[in-house]
Symmetry: C2
Subunit: 132 residues, 2 copies
């Protein structure tokens, strides 16, 4: 079965089914004059399956972030009680360098890992300042 | 042992050691006229310990993010092959609603969870557009 999109003519599954080997592979995009392959039921099932994995990962991320903020809130309380500044540039520089290295090992863009840490740290400093 | 900070007089540990129960507790900050407690060795060790937990969580986050981008790159390839648009507002709305619920359960600010998903999704759409 083929789900038509954008008013394209319905296509025969036997010719247009992409094959699972193409989905996970690193083949380059087809040239411009290559006909667009409509998603088959199999393709849509594959998409649903990938999205279910993304949803599982997101649930794990949310729970890890919750735990991380529990830790940083304790750190914030400790810093406030001892009049230590909320931000610590040396610690942050070490964190960035470490996360960039871990990102390379995990095949994640290190620039994105750094952006991610900055995103989180901005929220943490906001929490720390709210404690004061 | 006490580490002096900001030129404050060194304090006696027996009077200023905060006690671990105060670190993790939810007591409000001391009133303004309450003397600032200098960090003791014990406090600094506690800070190091919390930071080690944060570093462990960050390593897990980086690896999960790497895995998430592997999934979304597969989705991007699939969408490009089938001429499907990179963004999917309905799917994103469902993801936001779900993550906000999960955040509440995990005691994470749901507004932050939504900001986090937007941050990630922006990067994902950038990847999807780069495939085309």
């Amino acid at each position: 079965m083929v789900r038509p999109r954008r008013g394209s003519p319905n296509r025969d599954e036997s010719t247009d089914a992409p094959g699972l080997d193409r989905i996970a592979g690193c083949d380059r995009r087809a040239p411009v004059d290559f006909p667009i392959v409509e998603p088959t039921e199999q393709t849509l099932a594959e998409l649903d399956d990938m999205r279910a994995s993304i949803d599982n990962i997101d649930a794990a991320l949310v729970h890890l972030l919750a735990e991380r903020f529990k830790c940083t809130k304790r750190v914030g309380r400790l810093k406030a009680d001892h009049d230590m500044p909320p931000a610590d540039p040396d610690r942050e520089a070490r964190q960035i360098a470490r996360l960039r290295e871990l990102a390379v090992e995990a095949d994640l863009d290190p620039a994105f890992a750094e952006k991610f840490l900055t995103f989180i740290t901005t929220e943490v400093i906001r929490h720390h300042e709210a404690i004061r």
